[in-house]
């Protein structure tokens, strides 16, 4: 209790406020991420069955045979059918790519559907499914088509009336990747749309619910009978893709939060050192009066624990608010409701507070137990007490430990730790070069410059610390805000102006000539590519399983169907880098050419034999060449190409791509009306959606970067606090010597400007540098080095530090010169 009382006194004296604030910011960053990740992940797990809308689902490339449904019902299972496919709907002169879903009675077997009677009206649980002849649409689709409830639209050969606004669908997925808006209609209308041609991209599902053992027996039997043709889905698998994304995002955000903890840790180190210095005499008096070293330690540990308790709770409260804000930013991406927040992140918050205080503050404070009692007689004794590097080593060890906890992998920890340390080292080296250079320059040039630069160059060490701390915060912010935008723009700039912006897919073989004719009539000459959707089933005779791969992308490729094609001529944007192309021979032997990165991802090399299966049939061929593809041409390209004739066994559709100026969009409507099963994809709008997703995702990370910047500002304020006495004295002395207040404030302002401009300039430089590296190495983009980022950075840094500095140091510059006499 003595510790609590003393803590209260320290708090009232303003001694510990910055320290507490630093802990609050660190805890807010960590708990905010913890709550976000927990709730999104718990949402995924708890609703796993809902996410499937069933206990088990059977996916089949053709309409589900009636017999299956009857068998399942006979076994006592509830059933429902769904069919999902991309298609285009027409409303007046508007057309939109939608993800259409036909459902039958009983859907959903798990979870619930929610609808609104009209846009903006209250949401209700849906009783049943859309009546035949009607459809439920997501509100954004209504907006895009300019429709309201009661209006009609065309889907294939069918006209449907909009009966309600679809606001929630349990098995919509996590939204990551499901870009097209939903249209839901009655399964009974599916035939009448005439969209079920061979090779069409319909996913038919039989949903099952009931006793789990019965469901599993039933699906096992189906799998035994039909082999690879059926795919059995269980709730866990359904959420796996989303879970992988969430897990990666959690790790990334966790490490971002750690950056805030590190910068806040620097603020703790600085403030606690300052605090400890002012405690030496007090401790010496206590020891002179008989306090033991153990009692002194106990007192300070007690203070830290109390402080951790309060600051941890306050930080967790801020973290909670932060996660609510982050959830709001990605609401559209999430698309589902989340379970209520748990209390575990609060514990995480206290642990973080504990780690920050015990790791960053205790090593310094614990040295106070050695305060010499003789100091009560000789003030010079014990001043060396805090001069030791040990607290820095402990702090580095704590940071490493926290990183290891967050990353859960030693190699990742080492590389992230290395990256952070080297970034800090480079920033420090450059900042020190600038500050000490300015110091040397001002010394040499003499005259009034000495005075103007005095504050900045007289405290070079604190200037460097401030520059680095603020610089790290600004750098992460710029990297997200400026460089991301530049990267996206650079990517879009690389797309040639006449690059294809429309794709027509799902063209049946007997429709190719008709579609080609319509396009030719509209002045569009284009090439048609055959496309086979197949799953890779065997590699060199051994079955391929998703579990064989580590990377999420390879797992997805192994699990999903993907697109193959054949051709006799190599496109100009393809280069053979290994093996030989089969050439234009009329009937070359069956062989495959694989794109290099894809080959690397799934572990395929020249001479390997791949087996692809679709619709119950399969084809095996040898890989005889590897290709590099320039995807940025935006032409149609395929990971795997086969020699002509190789894929003849498998069902195929055709696709084409072309550039369509906006004014000609009626051509598309004509094609869709004549050939309802053909699906157009408007690349421009897909790009826009991708950009929206990236923007939303990165706005969450930007919030984290803002917290890092806040921690950087705390370091700035801590450094100001440490130099506060010095500033007061300087200000008083200059006043006594005849300097006006405006002159003293101008000197301080210049110091803040310099610190801010250098920090911001360095941050801008580092962020653009990182942008160039990211563009060249990861995306192979031409990303020009933009000096303007440096200028913007310098300006933002200048204003940030100026405002924070003016706020933090204001009181130091009101010092009366009389103190020079009183302190004499």
């Amino acid at each position: 209790m003595l510790a609590l009382r003393l803590l209260y006194r320290d708090w009232r004296g303003g001694e510990l406020r910055l320290l507490a604030l630093a802990v609050v910011v660190a805890v807010a960053a960590v708990t905010g991420v913890a709550w976000l990740a927990d709730r999104v992940a718990a949402g995924t797990e708890a609703r796993a069955a809902d996410l499937l809308a069933a206990d088990r689902a059977v996916e089949y490339p053709q309409p589900i045979p009636d017999e299956w449904q009857q068998r399942a019902q006979a076994a006592g299972l509830n059933t429902a059918l769904t069919a999902t496919f991309p298609t285009v709907v027409l409303a007046g002169d508007q057309n939109r790519l939608v993800s259409a879903k036909a459902v039958d009675d009983g859907y959903p077997l798990r979870g619930e559907l929610r609808i609104q009677p009209d846009i903006g009206a209250a949401e209700n649980r849906a009783e049943g499914i859309p009546e035949p002849g009607t459809a439920w649409l997501e509100s954004r689709l209504l907006g895009l088509l300019g429709l309201g409830v009661g209006d009609t639209l065309e889907i294939g050969a069918m006209t449907l009336e909009v009966a309600a606004v679809l606001s929630f669908e349990p098995d919509r997925g996590q939204g990551f990747g499901s870009l097209a808006p939903r249209l839901m209609f009655n399964h009974a209308d599916l035939e009448a749309t005439e969209l079920l041609g061979p090779g069409s991209r319909v996913r038919h599902k039989l949903l099952l619910a009931g006793e789990l053992a019965t469901a599993i027996r039933f699906t096992d039997a189906l799998a035994a009978e039909h082999g690879n043709a059926v795919e059995i889905e269980s709730p866990g698998e359904q959420g796996r893709g989303a879970a992988e994304v969430i897990d990666q995002a959690k790790r990334f955000l966790g490490l971002a939060a750690l950056l805030t903890v590190i910068v806040a840790g620097v603020a703790v180190l600085l403030t606690v050192r300052h605090y400890a210095e002012r405690q030496i005499t007090g401790v010496a008096v206590m020891r002179a009066m008989g306090a033991t070293r153990r009692q002194v330690m106990g007192l300070f540990i007690g203070k830290l624990l109390w402080l951790g308790l309060f600051a941890g709770a306050a930080g967790a409260a801020l973290g909670y608010a932060l996660h609510v804000a982050m959830l709001a930013l990605i609401a559209e991406l999430l698309g589902t409701e989340l379970p209520p927040a748990g209390w575990q992140p609060l514990l995480t918050g206290w642990l973080t507070a504990g780690a920050a205080l015990l790791g960053f503050a205790l090593p310094t404070l614990s040295r106070l137990r050695d305060a010499p009692p003789m100091r009560v007689l000789r003030q010079d004794l014990g001043s060396h007490l805090l001069r030791a590097g040990a607290p820095l080593l402990v702090a580095a060890a704590v940071i490493f430990g926290l990183m290891a906890l967050q990353a859960g992998d030693l190699l990742v920890t080492l590389s992230v730790f290395g990256a952070v340390v080297s970034t800090l080292a480079v920033l420090t080296a450059v900042a020190a070069g600038v500050v000490y250079g300015a110091r040397a320059w001002s010394r040499r040039s003499g005259q009034a410059r000495l005075l103007w630069l005095t504050g900045f160059t007289r405290r070079p060490l604190t200037a460097v610390i401030q520059i680095v701390a603020v610089g790290v915060g600004l750098m992460s912010l710029f990297l997200l805000a400026v460089v991301r935008n530049d990267l996206l723009s650079a990517w879009q700039a690389e797309i040639p102006p006449d690059a294809p912006n429309q794709f027509l897919i799902n063209i049946q073989s007997d429709e190719v000539d008709g579609v080609r004719q319509m396009l030719t009539d509209a002045g569009i000459e284009t090439r048609f590519y055959p496309m086979v959707r197949a799953r890779m089933t065997e590699l060199n005779g051994a079955p391929v399983s998703a579990e064989d791969y580590d990377s999420p992308q390879a797992r997805r490729l192994a699990r999903r169907e993907f697109n193959l094609s054949w051709t006799g001529t190599l496109q100009s944007d393809n280069d053979i880098v290994a093996g030989d192309w089969w050439g234009d021979a009329d009937s070359p032997p069956p062989q495959l050419s694989v794109e290099t990165e894809f080959a690397e991802e799934i572990g395929v090399d020249l001479g390997d034999r791949l087996t692809f299966g679709a619709g119950g049939r399969s084809v095996t061929a040898e890989v005889t060449s590897l290709r590099e593809v320039r995807w940025e041409s935006f032409n149609v390209n395929f990971f795997v190409l086969a020699s002509p004739g190789t894929l003849d066994q498998l069902p195929r559709t055709w696709l084409t791509s072309f550039h369509l100026p906006v004014v000609d969009s009626h051509v598309l409507n004509d094609v869709i009306r004549s050939y309802p099963s053909v699906t157009p994809i408007d690349v421009t709008s897909v790009l826009r959606i991708v950009r929206t997703i990236i923007d939303q995702g990165s706005s969450v990370v930007e919030l984290m970067a803002l917290l890092t910047l806040a921690a950087g500002v705390l370091v700035l304020l801590a450094a100001l606090q440490i130099t506060g006495e010095e500033r007061r004295f300087e200000s008083a002395l200059l006043r006594a010597l005849g300097a006006r207040g405006s002159r003293i404030r101008a000197m301080a302002r210049l110091e803040f400007w310099l610190v801010g401009a250098i920090a911001g300039g360095l941050a801008g430089l580092a962020a653009t540098g990182a942008g160039v590296v990211i563009a060249e190495v990861l995306f192979n983009l031409d990303y020009p080095f933009r000096p303007v980022t440096l200028v913007i950075g310098a300006l933002v840094g200048l204003v940030t530090v100026w405002l924070a500095g003016a706020l933090g140091a204001r009181r130091y510059y009101r010092a009366s010169p009389m103190r020079l006499l009183r302190e004499g």
């Binding site: 405290r459 300097a739 006499l821």
Partner: protein, 247 residues
């Protein structure tokens, strides 16, 4: 025995040390009072003090610790404003000026020597001495500072930082700083308070030499009777009143 006085140091106390000057006073205080609010109520440090000193004269204010002599020095130099009364420095009524106007008045005209030296730790001896000259934008600040340091015997210590200098050397740097702008009046607050007796005596010798060379008016606060006696005039501050020293 000290005798209470309301008379001016420069005119009425000629007998002290035989100052011959009779020009208008460079510094004049009338009815000076200083009061503080304390938990036990309002405390008066001193009331109704009158004081005046002519240009080129020197005045010592003696007193015990806590008698208010440093506060009085601060008021005379315009570092703070009195609770009542006026201070006229070089024909300017300080009590009618704001903080900035007083600062401008001080710059170049007023020099200071403090008990704790008060050098800026991050600046070299040379830079510390240059500081007041740079405040009045003197183009020759660097050369003047060199000369001033040479004058106090520190020509070989220009690039030293305060921490690398002894107490006596630091106070010499402070003296060089005080004289670099050739101020009309110098205020010294216990200039030997932090020095041993011998070094203190050397500093006082130097102070009076410089004072004589530059013709500067000197106001000095001390508790050292011997130092005080080297001034033309001596006053005691006790119980809030100013007494003239006994002959």
């Amino acid at each position: 025995m000290p005798v209470e006085t309301g008379l001016e140091a420069g005119t009425a106390a000629k007998s002290d040390k035989g100052s011959s000057s009779s020009v208008a006073p460079i510094l004049e205080a009338r009815g000076l009072a200083m009061r503080f609010d304390a938990p036990e109520g309002r405390i008066s440090l001193f009331e109704s003090l009158d004081l005046s000193i002519d240009a080129g004269d020197s005045l010592a204010i003696l007193g015990t610790s806590g008698s208010g002599k440093s506060t009085l020095l601060g008021l005379l130099a315009g570092l703070d404003l009195p609770s009542a009364g006026t201070v006229v420095l070089d024909r300017h009524d300080l009590t009618k000026l704001d903080e900035d106007e007083r600062a401008v008045l001080r710059s170049g005209r007023v020099g200071f020597v403090f008990q704790a030296f008060h050098l800026l730790p991050g600046l070299t001896a040379l830079e510390n001495v240059m500081l007041p000259a740079e405040l009045v934008v003197d183009r020759h600040a660097r050369q003047r500072a060199r000369d001033a340091l040479a004058r106090v015997g520190l020509a070989d210590r220009l690039a030293h930082y305060p921490a690398q200098l002894s107490g006596g050397e630091q106070q010499r740097v402070a003296l060089a700083r005080a004289f670099i702008t050739q101020p009309g009046i110098l205020f010294a607050d216990e200039p030997t308070g932090n020095l041993d007796h011998r070094t203190g005596a050397q500093i006082i010798d130097l102070l009076f030499e410089l004072n004589r060379d530059h013709g500067t008016t000197l106001v000095l606060v001390t508790h050292d009777q011997a130092v005080a006696e080297r001034c033309h005039h001596v006053r005691y501050l006790r119980d809030g009143r100013l007494f003239e020293a006994a002959a």
